[in-house]
Amino acid sequence: MSAAPTAPVSSSPAPTPGKGIRRIRVPQKLRNLELFLLLFVCATNAFAVVIVQFGALGYADLTVVTLGAGLAVLVFAMHIALRLVATNADPFILPIASLLNGIGIAVIYRIDIAEKLTGWESTALRQVVWTSVAVALAIVVIVVIRNHRVLQRYTYVAGLAAGVLLLLPMLPVLGQEINGARVWIHVGAFSFQPGEVAKIALAVFFAGYLVSRRDSLSMVGRRMLGLRFPRGRDLGPILVLWALSMAIIIFQRDLGTALLYFGLFVVMIYVATGRASWVVLGVGLFLAGGVIAGQVLVYVNDRFTNWLDAFNPDIYDAQGGSYQLVQGLFGLANGGLIGTGLGEGRPDITPLAQSDYIIASLGEELGLAGLFAIFGLYLLFISRGLRISFAGQDDFGRLLGVGLSFTLALQCFIVIGGVTRVIPLTGLTTPFLAAGGSSLVANWIIVALLLRLSDTVRNQPRLVI
């Protein structure tokens, strides 16, 4: 938002003839800052790829850097789009997202080298293609949606779309089961995780729904233990969402997505009503559901065992045991404070090192210092999102901003917490970093929506005295 507002808005020096009154003109200061940061980011990304090549191959192969330049062109296209249609948008979001995405591509490329994947086999190339699709979609979103309030009209359409997207993987032909979780659809050569896009639709739906219903959800209720609990009949929405997330755990066998959707709803209802009892209720419901699922469902139980008793040799060697988790931890330990250097570690030993375990790969090669820089980038991104919602003018926009930034925060917590053994491991993608097209598309659309929200907010003072 107000990027450098300490410098007073410079008024044009030429006075209007006759009146002696100057008209205030605001230069595109935010966009210039963004341009500077983007140039910095592009240089950093190219540098990362070159270091990977020096470390893993021993020479620099500039064709890959050229490929990255293609991406940079798209990002600058988005920058120009912002100059034209969203002048006052936040200047930090786009550079942070581009940097995370670029580091992700460099690390995926590094693992491709280790696994000797080239051409269309290579995950990095597919990641580049998906990134360009995602950035192009983000440009479309920012150009087409000129006012975020339009989204409020489609509240229930968004709800329906989210439901359909969630059900798609359950269809017999289209749906596909990978590593036990049935969250994929398969069309031609591409597979897609519709649940990732569904989280945006859900955020829109929750925001629209809660804006219209929050009075009844917040005003009435019984007071108990110092908290005002809602009436029985107002519990409908939260119970429906709870049932939905339990259904995801049972039928799609995907803990992470269930936790993400339910957490999103609980936070949005808390922000909309300002009542902590919803959080108490939500956390209680989910914990109860999780414990029951752990008793009944084998795969959930396995996750708990892998988490609590990871270093037990029996569990380490078991099929679907804690091998992956422990290898990731070994990788992190091998990285130490400053890491082995990009291209010089062995992150490819861990299964899925380029997608679910990309944080472990990063931690091994960049070390604690690099990992904390990545966390810092996420922190800045999410704090910008929350700040945009805080300064928002209308309730729908505020709720939507909170929802979108909180999904990212929760997703980071779930996946990084899982890899570092803070919570049981659940399959979710690390936003912007991990290999996976659906996640990239969804997160870049979130970038576009947050930029649109931040432009609608009058964030730049018209006059500073």
Binding site: S2, S11, F92, G339, A373, I374, P461, L463, I465
Partner: protein, 209 residues
């Protein structure tokens, strides 16, 4: 590639990442620490009040009634770090809420049709103007205000100019030092006539055609 070169490259890359983070944190420091306050010199306030008198027709009264602390206790202006001192005579000023139709003579009310700009008539940015739309304008020290006034006399969220059915209305947002329309302290939302000074701290402005 020697190991030393690789180590240096690695350290350089980590340094770049952290430099990026610190550039961002530095650029958004005003969000973290708030706006910097500009200290007014002790003699600046009477001068500004004098300028108000010269600028607008009815604002000699504004200068007198609006700076009660400055008029009665000259030390108050010299110690701007205590702006929270309540201005004693202010509550005695009768509330000025003209009922519709009671205005006999005087400038017409500012509407979205006849008021096109907001002109600063006194204060540091004297003779600046901004175009008026139909959207509300917030005034205060915080950076999310539409018009940011950074002096000791302005509250974080000081006042708001808004449109009530085509007509411009000023509302004081419980500011410490008050908002004065033509010398009268604004206690409830009041219609703003054209060419009438509104004073906030050391700054006065008018709505003009």
């Amino acid at each position: 590639m020697s190991e030393l070169t690789l180590l240096i490259l690695q350290l350089a890359f980590l340094a770049l990442l952290w430099v990026f983070i610190f550039i961002i944190v530095y650029a958004m420091r005003s969000d973290l620490f708030g706006q910097r306050v500009r200290k007014l010199r002790s003699d600046a306030t009477p001068a500004a009040a004098g300028a108000t008198g010269a600028a607008g027709p009815g604002s000699a009264a504004a200068g007198a009634a609006a700076a009660p602390g400055g008029a009665q206790r000259p030390t108050a202006a010299a110690a701007p770090s205590t702006p929270a001192t309540p201005a004693p005579p202010a509550p005695k000023v009768p509330t000025f809420v003209p009922a519709p139709g009671t205005e006999l003579s005087g400038p017409p009310r500012a509407t979205t049709a006849n008021a096109g700009r907001l002109v600063i008539t006194s204060g540091p940015k004297n003779n600046s103007e901004i175009p008026l739309g139909t959207e509300p304008l917030t005034i205060g020290r915080s950076s999310d205000s539409s018009v940011v006034i950074r002096d000791d006399y302005t509250s974080t969220h000081h006042a708001r100019l808004m449109v009530w059915g085509e007509e411009w209305v000023i509302q004081d947002l419980d500011s410490t030092n008050g908002t004065f329309l033509d010398g009268q302290r604004v206690t409830s939302p009041v219609h703003v006539p054209l060419n009438t000074p509104i004073r906030i701290g050391a700054t006065s402005f008018e709505l003009r055609r």
